[in-house]
């Protein structure tokens, strides 16, 4: 590194200190075991590789089940949705229920998806009137 480079680092550090901006960074111990969850997101958004989306989600969920790690928010729900898309309705419901158990904040949405699967329609299908409201979700 040259002196100019060092100088730049110093200026930036001083600027940060001057602002009193203590960048605390990520928590030292993560709350969740992310496994290959982010890889799945990248496969879906960037490389559009459905097989990798699936394998990443499956690996994340099964690894956490084996080691009793904490699954991050959304992992079970995404896995359930992937299962549904593969035609496995029963296991899709199991994982939607699991998401609602781990994170009660997701219960209104998970219940809605489960009701749709049981009613024979696709979870991402909206009622024709587009209302999409039920008392439970509004709570």
């Amino acid at each position: 590194m040259t002196w100019a480079g060092l100088g730049r680092v110093l200026v930036v550090s001083l600027a940060a200190l001057g602002c009193g901006a203590a960048v605390t960074g990520c928590a030292p111990r993560p709350l969740y075991d992310w496994g290959r969850y982010e890889e799945s997101l990248q496969a879906s958004y960037v490389s559009h590789d459905d097989d990798q989306v699936w394998s990443g989600l499956e690996a994340t969920v099964t690894a956490a089940e084996r080691s009793r790690h904490r699954l991050p928010p959304g992992a079970c729900a995404e896995y359930g949705f992937a299962l549904y898309r593969r035609g496995d309705r029963d296991r899709a419901i199991t994982y939607f229920e699991r998401e609602a158990q781990l994170f009660p904040e997701s219960k209104p949405l998970m219940d809605k998806l489960i009701a749709k699967i049981r009613g024979g329609s696709s979870p991402d299908e909206q009622p024709p009137d587009g209302a999409g409201t039920d008392g439970e979700a509004a709570r």
Partner: protein, 217 residues
């Protein structure tokens, strides 16, 4: 020094230099769950939205919030006839409570996602703005704008070295799509985690409700 060139991560701590924040609106509608809707891309970089979306769940969840599953969210929105971020951002926020049961919605706008050349140096910049809204009232709970930049090094002082450094940087940028990802991640960390201006810890974080002195009402 030798031909080594360094990458300097420059934290543009502009937002964190502002006046002290108050969190009265935040505490009045303190969210447990956050729905991240597709980011609005105001840049000409077509891949920006997709790459950005892969970076946001983790830091937000690690801050202690329930973050709704992104892929499922997008599928549900698409089925509602909302395939584009622009339409989603214009939707009345109360609808997100009806549809998802979310306490709050995070609207992300990508302001800059570019690689600029200044003489022989290049600077990669990601600038993102965040607005968190309560789904009951539509009130703004928190907002932030963050930039993260990475400059190519000076290549050791000689003109040849500088040219090589710029060429290498260019090649790296051309080759990897993931180049912007660390900058997007950095912008998120700056936004969510900087004490006093970021997000107070959410309900799954051990600091939940204990960090109010840093985030005054």
């Amino acid at each position: 020094m030798t031909g080594r060139w360094c990458i300097v991560l420059v934290v543009l701590a502009i937002a964190s230099c502002g006046p002290k924040r108050h969190y009265s609106s935040y505490y009045a509608h303190e969210p447990r769950s956050i729905l991240v809707v597709p980011a609005l891309n105001e840049t000409t970089a077509v891949e920006a939205q997709a790459v950005y979306m892969t970076t946001v769940s983790r830091p937000l969840a690690e801050r202690g919030f329930y973050v709704f599953p992104l892929l499922l969210t997008e599928a549900l929105l698409r089925d509602l006839g909302l395939p584009e971020a622009g339409l989603v951002h214009e939707m009345p926020v109360e609808r997100f409570r009806d549809l998802f049961g979310a306490d709050a919605v995070l609207f992300v706008t990508i302001k800059d996602w570019s690689n600029k050349y200044i003489v022989v140096q290049s600077s990669t910049v990601v600038k993102v703005s965040f607005v968190l809204k309560d789904t009951r009232t539509g009130a703004v709970l928190w907002e932030s704008t963050q930039s993260a930049a990475r400059n190519s090094g000076d290549g050791g002082g000689s003109v040849i070295g500088m040219l090589i450094a710029a060429a290498v940087t260019y090649a790296v940028n051309e080759m990897t799509e993931t180049d912007y990802r660390p900058l997007a991640q950095q912008a998120n960390v700056q936004a969510f985690y900087v004490r006093g201006v970021g997000l107070p810890a959410g309900p799954y974080h051990p600091d939940f409700a204990k960090d109010r002195s840093y985030y005054p009402p």
